[in-house]
Symmetry: C2
Subunit: 340 residues, 2 copies
C-alpha cells in the first residue's frame, strides 16, 4: 500500500536538461546565477517531466512548510446543527486564507486539540491563529511550552498585556452601541451576554457595568450560551420582559440572541423601536434578515484577519512586528430596530 507517488525529482530534471541538481534548484529559486539559456532548458525539461518541487523536502531545510493553522473553537461541537458566529467565522477564515496565500502560506483549519494528542495534524503548522482564546487557554499553554509561534485573536482575559494576543477593543465597541441605544431613546438598558470565558464576553460585561454605573442606572444582565442561539434569545427576552420594570432597550452580544429577543418582544405586541430598542454586538444573517432588521456591529473580520496573518507570518519568519494598537476596525450598522 501507499506506493510512493512516482513524481519526477530534481535529479530527473537535471539529467534531462544535462545539468546538475544544483543548477535546477537555482533555476527555480532564482538563487545563484544561471545562464538564461540554461534556465530555459531546465524549465523545458521540468515541464516535459511534469516536475513539481517537493514542498516537504524543501521544508526540511528551512524547517518551515508555509502552513498556518487556524484554530476554530466553534468547529468542535459535533452535535450542533448550526454554528455560532457563522458569518463572522466564515468571513474571517476566508480573509485569513486569502491573506495567507498572498504571503505564500496556506491556511489549515485545526480543531481545538483540547489537550488531546489528536494534535498530530497541528505538527505541520508553522504557527497558529487562535480565534476567541479563552481564559487560561490550554492550547495557548501548550504552544507556549513548545515554543510554537501563535497569535490569539482576542485577548486572553487573564493576560491583558501579552503580546501574543490581538486586542479587539471590545469595551470601546460595546460602549458605542450602548451610547447609540441611549441616543435612540433607551433609558433602561439591559444586556444579554454569552457564556464563553473569552475577551468578548468579559469585556462586554465590564463595559456594560461601567456604562450603567456612570449613568446611575441599574444593571440587568441575562446570560445565555452562544450555542442556544435564537431560542436562547427568546428565553432571555421572556425573562427580561416579564420583569416588574422591563427594559426599553436591550444590548445583545450575539446576532442570534438579538433575533430571539426581538421575536419575543414582537410576540408580546411590543413596538420596535418605540417600546423596545434592540442592538447586537455582532452582525449576522439573523440581524440583517430579522423583522425589523436589527442594528448591529459589523466586526469587520477581514482587516482583522489580514492583520492577524501578517503578525503571525512575521513571527514565524522570526521578525516580531508590534501589535497594532486601538480597537479593531468595526462599524455600527444602524437598522430599524433602533431607528424608528
Amino acid at each position: 500500500m501507499a506506493r510512493k507517488r512516482d513524481r519526477a525529482t530534481i535529479q530527473d530534471v537535471a539529467r534531462r536538461a544535462g545539468v546538475s541538481a544544483t543548477t535546477v534548484s537555482h533555476a527555480f529559486s532564482g538563487n545563484g546565477t544561471v545562464a538564461a539559456e540554461t534556465r530555459e532548458r531546465v524549465r523545458e525539461a521540468a515541464r516535459e517531466l511534469g516536475y513539481r518541487p517537493d514542498a516537504i523536502a524543501r521544508g526540511l531545510r528551512s524547517s518551515r512548510l508555509g502552513v498556518l493553522g487556524l484554530v476554530v473553537r466553534p468547529l468542535d461541537p459535533l452535535d450542533a446543527t448550526f454554528l455560532e458566529g457563522v458569518d463572522y467565522f466564515l468571513r474571517f477564515a476566508r480573509a485569513a486564507t486569502l491573506a495567507a496565500v498572498e504571503r505564500g502560506y496556506g491556511l489549515m483549519l485545526v480543531p481545538d486539540p483540547a489537550g488531546a494528542d489528536a494534535f498530530a495534524v497541528g505538527l505541520v503548522c508553522d504557527g497558529f491563529l487562535i480565534t476567541e482564546p479563552v481564559e487560561d487557554d490550554p492550547l495557548v499553554a501548550m504552544l507556549t511550552r513548545d515554543r510554537v509561534p501563535f497569535l490569539g485573536v482576542g485577548r486572553d482575559p487573564a493576560r491583558p498585556a501579552s503580546e501574543d494576543f490581538l486586542d479587539l477593543g471590545t469595551a470601546q465597541i460595546v460602549t458605542e452601541v450602548l451610547d447609540h441605544l441611549a441616543a435612540s431613546g433607551g433609558t433602561r438598558v439591559a444586556a444579554v451576554l454569552g457564556t464563553a470565558p473569552n475577551e468578548w464576553n468579559r469585556d462586554a460585561e465590564a463595559a456594560y457595568l461601567a456604562w450603567v454605573a456612570a449613568r446611575n442606572q441599574s444593571s440587568v444582565i441575562v446570560r445565555r450560551a452562544e450555542i442556544d442561539g435564537e431560542a436562547g434569545g427568546r428565553a432571555a427576552g421572556a425573562e427580561l420582559f416579564s420583569r416588574p420594570s422591563p427594559p426599553d432597550a436591550v444590548y445583545c452580544q450575539t446576532g442570534r440572541h438579538a433575533a430571539g429577543v426581538l421575536a419575543e418582544a414582537r410576540a408580546r405586541g411590543w413596538a420596535v423601536p418605540q417600546d423596545i430598542r434592540i442592538a447586537a454586538g455582532e452582525d449576522s444573517e439573523q440581524t440583517r434578515s430579522a423583522v425589523p432588521p436589527v442594528t448591529a456591529v459589523d466586526l469587520r473580520p477581514e482587516p482583522l484577519a489580514r492583520t492577524a496573518v501578517a503578525v503571525l507570518a512575521d513571527r514565524v519568519e522570526g521578525a516580531d512586528r508590534p501589535l497594532p494598537a486601538g480597537p479593531a476596525d468595526h462599524e455600527l450598522v444602524i437598522r430599524a430596530s433602533t431607528r424608528g
Copy 2:
C-alpha cells in the same frame, strides 16, 4: 532572518536517554520492539526536552504530509460582501475538517489557483477536494496532469462517468422538490436557476425540463447569478410575476434566490402558499428565517464531506475505493411556503 527554531531533535532525545535515534523513533511510533522501561526513559527525556517529532522530516520519508486541500470556489470573489452558499460551505468545511482529523489529516483551505502559479501553497497538499467543479475545470486538468489525487464534489458536467467526481444526484433531488410543489397545489411551476456551469445548475435545469415535459407543461426558467442573492431573487420574482400567465409555484436553486422571490411575491400582496408556492434547492439561513419560512432541501453536507474525505484519503494512500452510488443524502424540509 528566519532563524531556525531550536527544537530538540530525535538525536538530542536519544543522547539524553542513552539510546539510539532508532529506539526513540520506535518508542514513539510503536514500530519495532522497545522494552517498557526503555520506552519510559525515552518518553521522559523527550518530555524534559520538549521534543515534538518533526512532521516535515517524517513526511519526507513517506512523501506525504497528511494535509488535504479543500478548494473552495466561493472563497475567491474578494469584492463580495457576503458569500453564496455560506451555510452549505461552512457545514461542509467543518465536517470535512473533522473527518480529516479523525483520519490523521489536516484540511487546508485553498483558493482556486485559477491556472495561476499562486498554487505554490497547494504543494504541501497530498490531495484535493474540489467543491462544485465546473465544466472542463482548469484546476482538474492541472491536477490530472500532475498526477495529484483529487476528488470533485459534484460531477464535471462534461465527464459524467468519471471516477474522480462524486455524483450529487441533483436531478433526482430536484425532481423530488418539483413533485412536492405539484403535490402542494402548484400547476404552473417556474424555475429560478444559478449561472455557474456546474453539475448543480446543469442537472437541475435538465431535471426541470424533463419534469415539465412529462406533464405537458411549458417551461419558464429565469437565471440569476448565485452571487446576486436575495436581490437577484427579487428581480427574478418581478420578472416571473409580471408575466401574462404567472406561475403559481417557483423552484429556486439557491436559498437566497428563494427568499428574494418570496419577498417580491409578498410585496405584491400574494398569499403564500395559496397564491404562490416556493421551494429552494438548498437550505440556508434565508430559507429558515424568511416569513413565512421556505421549504428547502437540506443537502446534508456532513455525510457528503465525510464520504469525500474518506475516498480522497484512500486515494492518497494508494487504495482506490469505489465511489458510493446514488444521490447524496438529503432531506426535503417542508415549511410554510408550501404547506398552507
